[in-house]
């Protein structure tokens, strides 16, 4: 993991002081709410329905046990004893008091963490996939690049008041698990076949929200040394020309769409030529300095015969292994995924302080004191020896952290929705709970297999409903809460936006609608065809017909 040195520490410490002063000036009235707003947003503080919320950055989703312990303490001391993990690998505390935020930030600073730029119209926390550095299908570890980007974008003075927020994601494995193509800038890292050089394919203009767009290719084969200068050029062009008259048209995706990606690329290229070989050109020395924090662990060859035995004998264990572990570079190790969605009682992404402590402890005992947060709002123990897996599983079960449902329908991505968020059209947590309740039969879930279900409480699409195999969107109809359903979306390199199946539904109907959709899928599925492929092949009609012919599903007109 990246370790702060003097400079990194100094920056976060000064930032805490700066923000406490700003909070004090807000309290005294010296700062108006309007003047204070962007300052608090750039320190992660939102005003929600009932209280302030603090979003803490977890850079590229990586946490140490110590850091997770601190988050647990914060949940206990400043919130109601739990935290909410987000799709961008951050954590949110929903019930904080503004006056106490500086204290929270100072506790975070003590363990090399911060909330800088987790909100606001600036470059946000850089994300990558949860299995970075350990996944079997990885081409190159994305974390050094992600850390270099974190540093470069932190309080970069020219780009703190952009037209709108700006999100960057990095992926460098065969499969894209970082939703790269729905980001303002998406980076695919790869090794040049001939030169073995690290290169970057830059994607631009992805984003969901009101106008969902899958990003387009902006620059192919960019040598990594030029990454900062190239992104600087992109941001400069965006800052210059991005729209500021309408917040819904202010994201870079709209600029790219308006100019056309070629014209946009041309302007970026012109800008880039001016700074390409300047001081921002990254050096091997700096890359090495950062990447030495992310060295591959020396893992041992193990006797895994006991593991094989347990796997053969214990059906429940085997099931959990098949859903909740991810293939590791080293055959005798796996990455373990811990679900934050054990059932209807637990809002997706939420975890109690005690559970956090357990996970932190388990990471210490069984791993290398490291934890990851996934885009799907789950936690990962990245390097677990197979011969310890059974023991770990038994312990996880004790703590109710062994729900064997990763990647299945109930592993939903859900935004906080109307229970917390003031922008919401509808609640999403109760809908998620109702679905959990309906689909409590593990065997049926496994029959359906891998399926993503995403629930957003409004058009802002924080839960990425557009790219869920099944997407649910809260809509407002004359003051009451309705839900629109899309199918056929998917994430990854071939990301795709789902299509609306028809008129929206009341909350009560949603579990049944999903039930019907899965039945139609199972009826038509060929071999192990994925849900989105079946939709692609047979179209919407078979799904629509079944869903809307049912009388007990109350569709509005």
């Amino acid at each position: 993991m990246y370790q702060y040195d003097f400079y990194d520490k100094e920056l976060v410490n000064e930032r805490v002081k700066q923000f406490s002063d700003q909070v004090a000036r807000r309290k005294s009235g010296e700062l108006s709410e309007e003047e204070f707003l962007p300052l608090r947003l750039q320190n992660g503080v939102y005003l929600q329905k009932h209280a302030y919320m603090l979003r803490v950055a977890i850079p590229y989703g990586t946490l140490s046990s110590k850091q997770l312990m601190t988050l647990a303490d914060i949940a206990d001391d400043f919130d109601k004893g739990y935290g909410h993990f987000t799709t961008r690998q951050n954590i949110q505390f929903n019930w904080v008091e503004l006056e106490r935020v500086p204290d929270i930030l100072s506790r975070l600073a003590d363990v090399d963490m911060h909330a800088i730029q987790t909100s606001g119209n600036c470059v946000r926390n850089v994300t990558t996939e949860a299995f970075a550095g350990v996944s079997a299908d990885e081409i190159i570890d994305p974390r050094p690049i992600a850390e270099l980007l974190r540093q470069w974008s932190t309080i970069n003075p020219e780009f703190l008041f952009l037209p709108r927020k700006f999100k960057i994601a990095v992926s460098s494995s065969t499969q894209d698990r970082a939703a790269v193509r729905t980001h303002d800038i998406g980076l695919y890292l790869y090794k040049d076949a001939r030169s073995e050089q690290l290169k970057v394919n830059v994607m631009v203009g992805g984003g969901l929200g009101r106008t969902p767009i899958i990003s387009k290719s902006l620059k192919k084969g960019l040598p990594w040394q030029h990454l900062l200068s190239y992104l600087e050029a992109v941001l400069r062009v965006y800052n210059r020309h991005g729209r500021r008259d309408n917040k819904y048209k202010a994201r870079i995706k709209i600029l790219v769409k308006t100019l056309g990606v070629d014209a946009f690329a041309e302007e970026v290229e012109q800008e880039w030529l001016l700074l390409k070989s300047g001081p921002t050109e990254l050096t091997q020395e700096e890359y090495d300095r950062v990447s030495k924090h992310f060295l591959t662990r020396k893992l041992k060859t193990l006797d895994i015969s006991p593991y094989k035995q347990h796997y053969a004998q214990d059906k429940d264990f085997a099931q959990w292994v098949s859903t909740n572990t991810h293939e590791h570079k080293h055959h005798h190790y796996v990455s373990v995924v811990i679900s934050t969605k054990p059932g209807p009682h637990n809002p997706p992404g939420d975890m109690s302080a005690n559970q956090m402590r357990h996970v932190a402890q388990l990471a210490q005992t069984y791993g290398f004191s490291e934890i990851r947060v996934t885009h799907e709002q789950n936690l990962v123990l990245p390097d677990i020896a197979k011969n310890k897996l059974y023991e770990l599983w038994l312990t996880l079960k004790e703590y109710h952290l062994a729900s064997p449902t990763i990647g299945l329908l109930t592993d939903m991505i859900t935004c906080p929705g109307g229970d917390y968020c003031s922008l919401a059209n509808a609640k999403s947590i109760p809908v998620a709970a109702a679905i959990q309740e309906k689909f409590d039969d593990l065997d049926y879930l496994h029959d359906i297999g891998s399926l993503s279900l995403n629930i957003s409480g409004c058009m802002n699409a924080c839960a990425h409903h557009h790219i869920g195999n099944i997407g649910i969107l809260g809509v407002d109809k004359n003051g009451s809460e309705w839900y629109q359903v899309t199918i056929g979306g998917k994430q990854g390199k071939e990301a795709q936006i789902g299509k609306v199946i028809g008129p929206s539904f009341e909350a009560d109907a949603i579990p049944d609608v999903i039930d019907i959709l899965t039945q139609v899928y199972l009826e038509h599925r060929q071999l192990d065809e994925a849900f989105s492929d079946t939709v692609g092949r047979i179209g919407l009609t078979p799904f629509k017909d079944k869903v809307y012919q049912r009388n007990d599903v109350e569709a509005s007109l």
Binding site: E10, E30, E35, T154, I155, E158, R236
Partner: protein, 177 residues
Amino acid sequence: MNNVISVVNRQQAQLVEDKWQILDVFSEHHKPQDVNSLDQLVIPFEPWLAAYNSGLLQAYFEDIQAFSIDNSSDVNELKPWLNQLKLIVLDFPKFTDGRAYTQAVELRRYLGWQGELRANGDVLRDQLSHMLRCGFDSFAIREDKDPNEALKGLSGISVLYANSVLEPQPLFRRRAL
């Protein structure tokens, strides 16, 4: 202009008596009444350029020494006059509109502007350090704010990773290992 903070030699900041006045309405025909000469007058660039291009510009206005420019304009257009200018004023219509940061960087870094660069408009304490780093060296603090308080905003956070106009080397090239 009132409430002006000026930074000399990139470090000494002080409140100054400022001689400049922004000409609110530019008309190519009329010499403004209340101002003696162009060495006190900031001329809005866009209407000036339009008059210049159409040949209507009164001779009096050819020796301008200071321009203000909209944040939606291309600062490259200033190029032909940079040699005769003493001051360029960039505009923050709202402090959340950050276009002038980029304009400042372009002027300093690419157009080699060495003269005074002033932030005007919704210029507030908590953004001053960012402006300074992007190359501004004078700040017309919003009229209702206490400029002495605002002065405190100039120092900002001492560590910055990226390079800036003020510090052209990014931290990774300066970092003591």
